[in-house]
Each structure stands twice: as C-alpha cells, then as structure tokens.
C-alpha cells in the first residue's frame, strides 16, 4: 500500500482531568476527502488541532509522507503544508477578501497589491474557488467567507486542508456549492479532512471515513463499505436512542404574540422589521434563517433583553410594557441563549453556581444564599443531564462546549419546571452537541410542549427544525419572508426563502 500523506499515531492529549485524546490514530491519503466523524467530545477537533499545531500532544507521533515531523506551533503546520479552517472564521471583517487571504504574507514593508492580486487570482483559477476580492469580507455571505478562509489556507501552501464542521452555518445551497468546490480542490492536488458529526454529509462527499469515539479511532472505512446505521453505532457505541417523534400539536391559547415588532440596533440600523408571529400553548414554532438575519434581536425581544422600537409583544395574552429579563422570567419566559460563552456561562464561577443562575431568587427569596442547596441541585443536574465535569465545584469555564450547553439546558429546563414557565426561547440549542445529547434536548423541548408550554426554536440547523417544528417561519434581513406549516415542509423551498428568494 502507498505511504499515507499524513499519519498520526498514538496521539494523547489531556486537559486537566479530562482525557481528550487517548492514543488516537489517523491516516490521510493523498487526493482524498476524508470524513472525520464522531460525537461532540470524541476528540475530532482536538486531534486536528494537534495536526495544525494549536495544541501540543502529550504523546504520539506525526508523519508526513512517511517521515516524522515535529509540529509544535501553527507556524510548523503551515511550513509542512497543513491548513485548517475553523468553525468560527478568523477573518478581519473590514479587510477585503484579498487583504485577508494575503494577511501575514505580504512580504517586505510595502504592500505590492498588484503582484499579490495576480497571485491570488491565479490561485482562485487553479483551485476553482472564485470570490469577489475587493469587498470587505463582513459584507460577504457566510458561504463566501468560508471560501476566503479556504483560499487563505491554500495561499499559505496548504496541501492538507482541514475543515472543522464547515456546513454548520450554511444554507443547503451553500452546502452544495462547498461540496462541489471540495471536488475541484482534490482535482487540484489538495487532500481534505472534513470534520463533522452529520452522517449524511459524510456519506455524500467523503472517499473514506474515520469514526472517533472517546479520544480514539474506532474504525476507518471507505464510503462503499459504510452504511448509516453502522456508522451511528460506531459513533455512539451502542444502538442509538430512538429519534424524538413529533406528536401532532393541539395548540391552545397563544403564549407569545408579536405584532409589527421593529428593533433598531445601537447604530440605528433596523435589525427586525414588522415581525408578526405567534406561539400557542403546546406548539413548537421554528425560526429558520441564515445567521445574522435578525435572530438575535428576535430572541432578545422575547427574552426581555432587547427593547422593541415599535410593535407589541404579548405574553400569555397580556402586553408586556417594559422591564428586563427578570420581569419576563416572572411572566414565565425562559431562554437558551445562542452564544453560550458570551451570554450563557459564568466562566470563573462553579458549575453549581452556573446551574442555579436565573433560579437563585426562586430558591432563595430572602437574603441568604445557601451553597449546600445549590450543590445539591447541581449534583442532581450533573447526573440527569450527563454533564461531564470534575464536579459541582469546578470552574464552568473548564467545560467543553457540549457540556456547557448541557449545563445551560439543565438550568433552563429545571427552571422552567420550577416556575411553571409558559414559553421557552431556544436559540441554536443543540449546536455542537453530540447525538445522544441532541436527542435528549429535543425530547425535553417536545416534553415541554406536551405539558402545555410553547417553544420558539430559532435554529440554523434545518434538519432540526423540520424534525421538531409545527410551523417554520423564515427570517431574512429582519423580516418574516415565508411561513411553512408542517405539511408543506420542503428543505429546498425553505432554503430558497432563507437565501432571500421567493418561497
């Protein structure tokens, strides 16, 4: 057999008490698209971060073309031709695509724009990834920004391109375009590692598939040998839990109504315009849309952290006058924030102190705060929501993204139960969660509906929306541009509406 282009052998990496990689192996052949599949926390991203020089492995070897190489920092990875595109892009928003691509490689003291442009244009031509070079990247759609990231890696001489969860933020059309581009890249001599937890994507695009679980490789198979059921079993380690089944909703009275709501951001730019929608008791309403089309403002208006400039918000039939999150919580509205690091976690405080946030006044109506009570709540939640952490007293900032999300889910669902909440706003609640945790969270959302609550599920994951929602509303540039009842769900029609086309 041919020598693999990249070989990782016995890679180990610990973060404090957590073993992220436990002797992981991986092989990439030249000219293939290799899917790296696994649940959240399986170690996929960590393993590739070792290859990209972002983490230093505690043990193990890296071989390129059969020769051992030392990759201690990102510079080393670039030198040997490894480039990685992260889940969250690292672009300078007000720089043009050209400036972003050549960033750090300008050479000399002068920007030789003309020569650099010719180089980048030649590169785009060769790999078949045309992007507009002169507009500030923040004005480009996410799918194009991603291509800029890929060009950036290739411009630095990447022969091995690692894409971490590249489809998360894309519309179905953009996903198609990305997959087509990957094929062209391979034809141009680039080898691709594609990190994902989405089975369908792996089966659709990859030549070979490596499944990881708990920091080790389970198996590497070619696409022909792979079948979906078997892959899930390898990922999860046992038969997967049954998917949540959506009972037909029998909606009751409205728990949330928005009428002509308009929100203006601090710069005076409207971010929501004339939004009218309702969630009734027992109903799960999905909000689809590409990130940045007003979802944050919508979640904020409902949760009480954003004040509308115009329009009416009614909770349980009564207009809310003013007031912040605390008032809205008393009225029975709870929310799972989109950005858990920014809006969800108290990083230096303990897991227990995080779990009680938003419920603390419920448990302690007086002056006194009782840490032992909080600890008890946390111990139960850690068990019930399977939060992997050193214990209730560990700093929450140490938790992995998936476990942080479980912590927030525990906080919100337990809080909803304790308060008898009527409405739950969940913004990308399963982003980055593994399969069992996603199923668990979906079941919790549906359970909340079954007991008479209403859910507003704002998500970028169309599969999730189609699986759970009674209705899907599409947001585009701050407006509701389409609405689909469950019987008319069609991913391409919804995708077109998300991209601003007619439904």
């Amino acid at each position: 057999m041919k020598t693999p282009l990249v070989e990782l052998r016995g890679i180990r990496k610990r973060f404090g008490p957590v073993v992220a990689l436990d002797g992981a192996d991986f092989e990439l052949r030249a000219g293939e698209i290799h899917g790296l599949l696994g649940e959240n926390g399986a170690g996929k991203t960590t393993l590739m971060n070792v290859l990209a020089g972002l983490y230093r492995a505690d043990a193990g070897e890296v071989y390129l073309d059969g020769r051992p190489v030392q990759i201690l920092e990102p510079r080393d990875a670039v030198r040997v031709g490894v480039g990685m595109v992260h889940q969250h892009f690292e672009l300078v928003g007000h720089f043009s695509a050209l400036e972003n691509v050549v960033l750090g490689r300008e050479g000399g003291g002068w920007l030789r724009r003309h020569r650099l442009r010719q180089e980048v244009e030649a590169l785009m031509e060769r790999v078949g990834l045309p992007v507009p070079l002169d507009r500030p990247v923040r004005e480009l759609p996410v799918g194009v920004q991603q291509k800029v990231e890929i060009l950036k890696a290739l411009y630095r001489g990447a022969r091995v391109l690692v894409l971490d969860e590249p489809t998360t933020l894309l519309t179905p059309q953009e996903v198609d375009s990305l997959f087509a581009s990957l094929r062209t890249l391979v034809a141009a001599g680039v080898s691709v590692v594609f990190i994902t937890h989405k089975l369908a994507e792996v089966l659709r695009t990859c030549d070979r598939i490596t499944v990881m679980r708990r920091g080790r490789r389970v198996v590497t198979v070619s696409r022909e040998e792979a079948d979906a059921r078997q892959l899930v079993e390898w990922m999860v380690g046992a038969s997967p839990p049954p998917a949540a089944v959506r009972d037909p909703a029998q909606p009751g009275s409205p728990v949330l109504e928005l009428e002509g709501v308009r929100v203006v951001d601090p710069r005076g730019v409207p971010v929501l315009e004339d939004v009218t929608l309702a969630v009734r008791s027992g109903e799960l309403v999905g909000v689809a849309g590409v990130s940045g089309n007003g979802q944050q403002a919508l979640a904020g208006v409902v949760a009480g952290s954003v004040r509308p400039a115009a329009g009416v918000v009614r909770v349980g039939g009564r207009p809310v006058r003013r007031g912040g999150v605390a008032d809205r919580m008393r009225e029975g509205v709870l929310s799972i924030p989109e950005d858990r690091l920014r809006d969800g976690v108290l990083p230096r405080m303990s897991v227990a102190e995080n779990i009680v946030l938003g419920r603390h006044r419920l448990h302690f109506p007086g002056v006194r705060y009782r840490p032992e009570v909080v600890r008890g709540l946390a111990l139960r939640a850690i068990e019930q929501y399977r939060i992997v952490c050193p214990g209730p007293d560990a700093a929450a900032g140490q938790l992995s993204g998936g476990n942080l999300q479980k912590l927030i889910a525990a906080r919100v669902f337990e809080g909803a139960r304790e308060r008898g909440a009527r409405l739950l706003v969940a913004h990308n609640p399963t982003r980055g969660l593994d399969v069992p945790s996603t199923e668990f969270l979906h079941a919790q959302l549906l359970d909340f509906c079954r007991h008479g609550g209403g859910v507003l599920l704002i998500s970028e994951d169309l599969d999730e929306l189609m699986k759970l929602s009674d209705r899907i509303t599409v947001l585009y540039r701050g407006r509701v541009v389409a609405e689909f009842p469950r019987v008319r769900f069609d991913r391409y029609a919804i995708g077109r509406a998300m991209a601003g086309g007619a439904a």
């Binding site: 912040g324 999150v325 605390a326 809006d343 969800g344 102190e353 938003g358 006194r368």
Partner: protein, 344 residues
C-alpha cells in the same frame, strides 16, 4: 491558557510566594549594599522593626488596617467587574466625614461617638463611591475616569479643610485640630501602640466573605462581575448591582479613612493615605480577589512597609531609597505572581 495549566497553578500552593520572599529579601539586601548600607544589619533591623518586637508588631497591625480595608474595597469592585481606583479619594472622603462628625460629637461618651464616627466615614466613602456607580449604571460612564477625578477633588477638599476652617493654628502645617478624646478608637495592645482598628478590619473581611458567598446579593454581584451578559440573561439587575457594589466598595474605603483618623492620627491630615489605594489594588490582585486571602497579603505588605521604613533609622538610608527598595520588592513579588499565572 488551558484547563491543565490552571490546575497546575492551583496545585503549587504557597511555595512560589515563599520563593518570592527569599528573592525579594536578597534583592533588598543587594540594594541596601549597593546604596552603601550594611545588608545583614538591614535585614535584621527590618525584621525587628516589623514583627520581631512588640512596638514593631503594633505598627504592622496598625498599617494592616487601612491596607486590608482598602484591598477589600478594591476586590469587592473587582468581583463586580469594576475597577475602583478611587480608593484613595474615598479614604479621604471617609476621613473628612469622620473628622467632621467627631468635632460635632465632642463631649459625648465613647460608646456613642466612636460608632458614629466610623459610620460617618463609611457614608462619606460610600457617597464618593456611589457617584461613579450611578454614572456607570445610568450612562455607562467608565468608573476609571470618574474615580480618578474624584481622587483629586477629595485631596483638595482635605487640603482646604486642613489649611482652612479646621486648621490647627499652633501646628503650622496642613493638619486639623485634634478630634475630641471621646471619638478615638480604643487600644488593642496599648504597650505596642496597636489600636483596635485591626479587629474591625478582620471583622470586615469576614463580613465581605459572607456577603460574597452567603447572600443572594453577593451571588448576583459575582455573577455580574464574571459575565454581565450571562448574569443579565439570568435575571440579575446588573447595572444596579454594580452601582451598589461600587457604593459598598467606597464605604469600606471610607471606613479605612475613619479608622486612620480615629485610631492613628486623631486628626485629619494631608497625606493621610500614602498611596494606600494603589497598594490596595496590588493586594486585591495578589490575594486573587478573595477577602480571606486579602487578610494574609495585607499583613505581609504591612510588615514589608513598616520594616523597610525602618531602614531609614537602622542603616540610614534616605527616604527616597526606601521607596526604591519597597518598589523593587513589590516588582519581584508581582513578577512571581505573573510567572505563576502564565508559566513561560
């Protein structure tokens, strides 16, 4: 930084600090020698003057009091996510209020006058702390600007009072008349010259600990300081909490001013705070924003300051050289703390 590094950092315990102390003392000896002094004698004298004698211990305890109260003020702010660099101004505001009330209450029994004086100091400091708190809560004005500006106002107020209306005409310098004897703090160790302020400060440290870890307000304060956005989405009234924290922080600093007047100087003087506010920031950071840690660090700082001050007498270093020595020792301690946090 990774979780692993954090875990290692915690595991190291007190050894880095012990090492830092050895290095600091070596630096100190070297500096004294370089400045033409007797290094061994200086170190011995330093110990005798700060901890190794009754009078020295008394001075160290007296010095601990404003440093501890000041650092509690700073760390309460830091815990709420605000940087109170106006502790000096709040110490002066507390001292002014305490002195004024002491004059008003001349002739009243100690059991009434002393609590009133201390309370006045807290109110004075709280007012000065509440101003930046409210400006920040209402309009998002940076507390750093406002507290720095208020420092100037407080210092000039003290200058006006000590040279003007309250001036002691017999003294010939910027100090006020002495406060009535009934308004002075009782002694803790009369032979050592230690007043009871240190007990007050210790009690306050315990109080701040209880406030932070055993009250709902303290929980909300820490949440607001850790991540205001998440706290706000958890229903914490962040702006109000932060404003209250700054007010409380000012009250603690004001208490320090009142104690200095009522326990140590018996009058308001210009230069009542020789940079306590800045040292309090260092102590708050070195004690990792924990009130009980601040007790130990304040005591160590006080011993250091008192001990090095004595070098003027014991080896005849000029006052400015003493400041150089103090600063060098501090730099060593801070460098060690920096290395501990971010191992190279």
């Amino acid at each position: 930084m990774t979780a692993g590094a954090a875990a290692r950092g915690r595991g190291q315990g007190v050894w880095p600090y012990a090492g830092a102390l050895v290095v600091a003392l070596a630096v100190l000896g070297g500096l004294v020698a370089a400045l033409g002094g007797d290094a061994a004698g200086a170190l011995a004298g330093l110990f005798r003057a700060s901890l190794g004698s009754a009078a020295g211990l008394g001075q160290t305890l007296n010095k601990t009091t404003p440093l501890l109260l000041g650092s509690l003020a700073v760390l309460l702010g830091l815990r709420a996510g605000v940087f109170n660099i106006g502790v000096d101004g709040q110490i002066y505001a507390g001292a002014v209020a305490a002195t004024g009330v002491a004059f008003l209450l001349a002739g009243l029994p100690r059991g009434f006058a002393v609590p009133a004086v201390l309370l006045a100091g807290m109110v004075g400091g709280a007012v000065l702390g509440a101003i930046p708190g409210l400006l920040r809560a209402r309009w998002g004005v940076s507390e750093i600007f406002v507290t720095v500006m208020l420092n100037f106002i407080a210092v000039f107020l003290v200058e006006y009072l000590s040279t003007g209306p309250w001036n002691d005409p017999t003294a010939g310098e910027a100090i006020t008349r002495a406060i009535p004897p009934g308004a002075t703090l009782p002694w803790l160790l009369p032979q050592a010259g230690a007043h009871a302020g240190v007990l007050l400060a210790l009690g306050t440290a315990l109080g701040v600990w209880a406030l932070l870890y055993r009250t709902v307000f303290g929980y909300e304060l820490r949440a607001a300081g850790d991540n205001p956005s998440a706290a706000s989405l958890g229903g914490v009234p962040v702006a109000r909490t932060v404003a209250l924290a700054l007010g409380a922080s000012g009250a603690l600093a004001g208490l320090a001013g009142a104690v200095e007047v009522s326990g140590f100087h018996y009058r308001l003087i210009l230069g009542l705070s020789p940079g306590y506010g800045m040292m309090a920031i260092l102590i708050a950071v070195l004690s990792r924003r924990h009130p009980l840690g601040a007790v130990a660090v304040s005591f160590g700082f006080a011993a250091l300051v008192v001990g090095t001050d004595s070098l003027q007498r014991s080896v005849g270093l000029p006052a400015s050289a003493v400041f150089v020595v103090q600063a060098a020792v501090l730099l060593v301690l801070l460098a060690v703390e920096g290395l501990r946090r971010n191992p190279a």
